[in-house]
Structures are given as structure tokens and as C-alpha cells.
């Protein structure tokens, strides 16, 4: 978990579910596989809370590789990571639009 480096805000918390490896997003109440449901931290306090939850969820063996990721909201208000690496992580393989969250949730 890379809590050390300071992530610019707004940001979301994403991770891989331990059991099936799928990318999951921290919501107001737990984890969701749907990026549209991610809780967006607009301020420092919320970001820190997300990081605390990431540590706790890791300790509970729910997720691995949890990371805060800075985002910009698109026209529909859906959080889109600023870095291309995380954009692919959220969408799925770019050459296979039939796979991953781009197929399941229509995220672009």
C-alpha cells in the first residue's frame, strides 16, 4: 500500500479483491466492483479515512494492492483516473472491449 506518496485530490480508492482478483472501489459503505459507485474524496480528511479503511480491509483479508488514485469527473460525474495506467485498470484491456468493466458497466 503506497500511503506514503501524497495523492492529489480528488481521489478514489481502488484495490484488487483478494478472493477473485477483480478491481474493486471503496464506496461510502464498503467495496463495489462498479467504478461509478466509488466514493470520491474531495478533501484531506476523507482521503485519510479511505486510507485507514484500505489498511483495515487489507488486514481483514478483503483486498490487496489498495491505492488512492487521483481522478477527474467526466461529464456524467463518473470518476476517471488521471493517469493512463489506472484508467486501463478501471476499464479493462483496451484491445478487448468485450472484457472487464468497460463491458460490464459501460465505463469509458
Amino acid at each position: 500500500m503506497s500511503a506514503q506518496k501524497k495523492t492529489p485530490l480528488p481521489a478514489i480508492l481502488l484495490a484488487n479483491a483478494l478472493l477473485d482478483g477483480d478491481v474493486v472501489f471503496r464506496t461510502a459503505s464498503g467495496w463495489s466492483r462498479d467504478p461509478r459507485e466509488a466514493l470520491v474524496a474531495e478533501d484531506e480528511a476523507t482521503a485519510n479515512r479511505l486510507l485507514d479503511e484500505a489498511r483495515a480491509a487489507f488486514a481483514r483479508n478483503e483486498v490487496v494492492d489498495a491505492d488512492l488514485v487521483d481522478i477527474t469527473r467526466d461529464e456524467a460525474g463518473v470518476p476517471v483516473p488521471n493517469h493512463f495506467r489506472e484508467r486501463f485498470k478501471v476499464k479493462g484491456p483496451s484491445h478487448r472491449p468485450d472484457l472487464g468493466k468497460q463491458a460490464e458497466f459501460g465505463v469509458r
Binding site: 482478483g21 478491481v23 483479508n61 493517469h83 493512463f84 495506467r85 484491456p93 483496451s94 484491445h95 472484457l99
Partner: protein, 556 residues
Amino acid sequence: MYRYDEFDEAFVRERVAQFAWQVKRRLDGSLTDDEFKPLRLKNGVYLQLHAYMLRIAIPYGTLSSRQLRQLALIGEKYDRGYGHFTTRQNLQFNWPKLRDIPEILGLLADVEMHAIQTSGNCIRNVTADQFAGVAADEIEDPRPVAELIRQWSTLHPEFDYLPRKFKIAVTGAPQDRAAIAAHDIGIGVVKNDAGAVGYRILVGGGLGRTPMIGKVVRDFLPKADLLAYLEAILRVYNLEGRRDNKYKARVKILVHEIGIDEFRARVEAEFAKLDGPTINADPEEVARIAAYFAPPAYEKLPPVSRAYEAMKAANPAFAAWAEINTFPHRQPGYAAVTISLKGIGEAPGDATSDQMCAVADLADQYSFSEIRVTHAQNLVLPNVKQADLFALWQKLGAAGIAEANVGLITDIISCPGLDYCALATARSIPIAQDLAKRFADLDQQRNIGPLNIKISGCINACGHHHVGHIGILGLEKRGAESYQITLGGDATENAAIGEIIGPGITAEEVPDAIERLVSVYLAERQAGETFIEAVRRLGLAPFKAAFTKEAADVAA
């Protein structure tokens, strides 16, 4: 093919049971992530961007139809209906769930397969010439020695925690199709002046962030001494190799730092001290292993099939495929067939479960139930009668795998890159797809002739870009994907590391840039000269000029 004996079988089953138990303990919290990670890596389980990944060993790239069918079934049932064949002749599944992996390993064990030592700092899956045992140019079949090394290196207690991963490749032919100079140890079968068959041993090759071509540590090693000599090399490395810095931990760095002469002196000293007979394989065991690789029951046929010649004359598309995708066989009347997994616009090395089943069926029908995986991410049916080639070609066409491009510009090697890989700095598959579309015209491809493009999505070089005639390396530059082009690499017996020819370019610019390089070749080539030969003769300058002009045009 080699078959497991009772010990192999019991061991693999035991490993599956252990891993099932480890997964269970991870899921119930008894094992922490730090404790579990090395255990999963010991069994080929990685975590990539979107999901876990399972890397399955295909020893020296040899598969039976039964094994390939099982892989197809696993892909269908536990993955997304496809798998990715890699430059290490392995198969990777991109979407398995951790909870299913013990079951998958059980299914693999049912067909004498596993994922052991496909990851971690141990001796990895031994790779070999895909035409082993059938190539007309071969001195000796390298599979028995590859199998011997596999048995010796599997769970070798002394070499289970090396400074870094360790890769061994073997070829039995002077024409190196196994890229042995790009491996930690490369073994080539050679004949000495007295006519005796032995091995030339290279050491210290490797790609990654510090690419090196392997150097000769022993020109001629008697066959019987192989394991003791390998043991001596591994010992010198294991003691001296750096564990403090993983970028300096490969044997290539040690060889580079102390020099090949000093390295050789240390290996020879260690070799002299070792008790050869207790390490080298018992001749009876060698004979037992070799017997598994006895040639299949070939028919006695004329060297050239009349029916085959007639079909070629009548059907130019078939003739083109046959010319490009077949390789001369040592047995008269037979051919080794390469099945391209490089359909235009497809992801290099990907095969669907349906395609795997189709290939397995065709192997049963036409090739003694055997399949090979090539380091260029294609499949091979090693034993096809010339007279069967036409029917085979038609059936491959029906399965969508009859692309006639083996060794040509669209037969591109590509690692998974940022579409899957957590270490990637840029994508590689879409670059391969765009290039294949740009050069799709088969007449043009054949006019260009042999040309290897190899693409990696980061400096780790899993896509062999350093040894591509044209290498493409995906990097990140100012928050965007950027591609660095190298020229003049070669993975064969003329091994060479490519050189960077200019500034990084965007993905969109890659096809034009490559077309420029090809145009220089087409304009400058002499009769019969291949792309790489022309690069060697002309030097980089004219290519650099064309490349840089383009980079400047784009900037303007």
C-alpha cells in the same frame, strides 16, 4: 513425449494439495499477504492489473493434444475463453480467480502439467528449439537434454533461492531458433573436429534493463558432463551473485563485472572439485529419458509429394502459406508446420479455447498428437505429411488460424503490456495490432521478407524488443505512452542487441515510423539481402536519418 513416472505424479499432486491448503489459510487469515505471496509465486500465480494471472509451464514448448485440450477446457471453464502463449513457451491465463486456482492446478496435474518454477528466483522452465527432433538441420534432438535439465532443476535444493530468476535454453541445430544467447545459460549441441557430439555452453545472456549477449564459457563439453558443469556454473553464481540489488542480481551482471575469463576460471575450478559421477545423470537414466523422444512411426515416403506439388500449383494462396509456414523436416515426405497466432489485428500469442481444441484435433489427425509452442508465440505441428498439408490448411482456415506470415513483418512478438501487466509503462498489444493492419498486404509482406518486430511494454523486455530486428519499447513520457525504437537486434546465432535510433514517439506515429525504416531497406537492398543483413551492411545512419526526419516532420 516424456511421461511422468510415479514420483513425478505423486510430487505434482502433493504440490496441488499444499497449494489448496495455502489458499485456504490465506482466505481464512492464517497467512498474511507477505507470507502468501512467495507461496503463490512458487506456483505461477501473479496478480496483474485486472485479475490474477496463472503461468503454466510447457516444458521446452512440447504439448500433447490431450494437454492442449485440457488447457482449452480450463480457459473455457475458469477464464474468459482464451490464453496467451508467451516468449518463454508458456501459457498464461489472464482472469483466473484465486479460489479456483487449486482446482485448475488439479486439472493440470491430470494431464501431467503444473505451474511450478514459472516464477521466482529459481531455474525456470527450460526452453528449446520448437523444431527439436524434426528439423532437417539438426545435429541432435535437444529434448532429452532439456528434459534431463528439467528433472535436475526441479526443486533442486541448492538452487531454490538464487539471487534472481535463471533461464536456460537449448538448441540442437546450428541455426539458433531458441534465442540461446539471450538466456542465463544457452546450450547448443555441437560436433567437434573428432566428430564427437557435445555442447557449447553460453552464459550471461539476458534482456531486461541491462541487455547482454551470452558469452562462450565452454566451447566443447562432453555430453556426459553436462549436469556437473551446469552445477558448477550455478554454484559460482549462487555464491557470488548479488542479492542486495535486484537489478544487478542476474548472472549476466556477474559475468560482465568479473569478465568471462575470470568467470570461466571459477567455473572450471568448481567443476574440477565437484564429484562428477554423483551429479551427472546415470547413463541408464539418460537412455530411459531419450527413449521417450524416439521418432514416431513415420511412413516411408518419397522426399517430395506429387499430390502436394499439384495442390500448390493449383492454389496460390495455399502455395504461399505452405512456402512461408512450413519448415524442412528430417523425415522424407514430411514437414513441420507453424500455425500463426498472429492473425491480422489479433493479440499476438492469444488463442481461444476453440482454436486450442481445433489445433489439438488437427494434431491428432495429422501430427502424431503432438504440438509445440514457439518463443515467437506461435504453435507448431511438427510431423505433418506433405500430402496432408492442403487438408490441414483448409481446416486451419476454418478455425481462423491460417495466416501465412511466419517470420514476416506481421509475425510480431508482443508482451501483454499495460492491457494486463501491473509492471507495464505502456501498452504493447495495440501497437502490434496497428502494425499488422498497416502491413497486412501479403504480397507486400513477402516482398519485405523476413523481419522480426518485437514489442515490450516496459524495460523488463518480456517481448524481447532488444533482439528484434526492429524493437519497440513502451515507456511513459510526461504522463503519456511513448515508444522507443531500436534497430539491428537479432535473436539467432548472430545475436545482437538493437540500438536506439531516435527520440521516443507516440503510438499513433509508430506505423509511419516503421514504414519509413522499411522503405529505406526496400530502396537500398541488394539482391537477396534480408532486412537485418541490409541493416548490418548499411549501418544505422540511413535509417536514423529517415526516422529522425519523420520525428522532425511530426514536430513541425
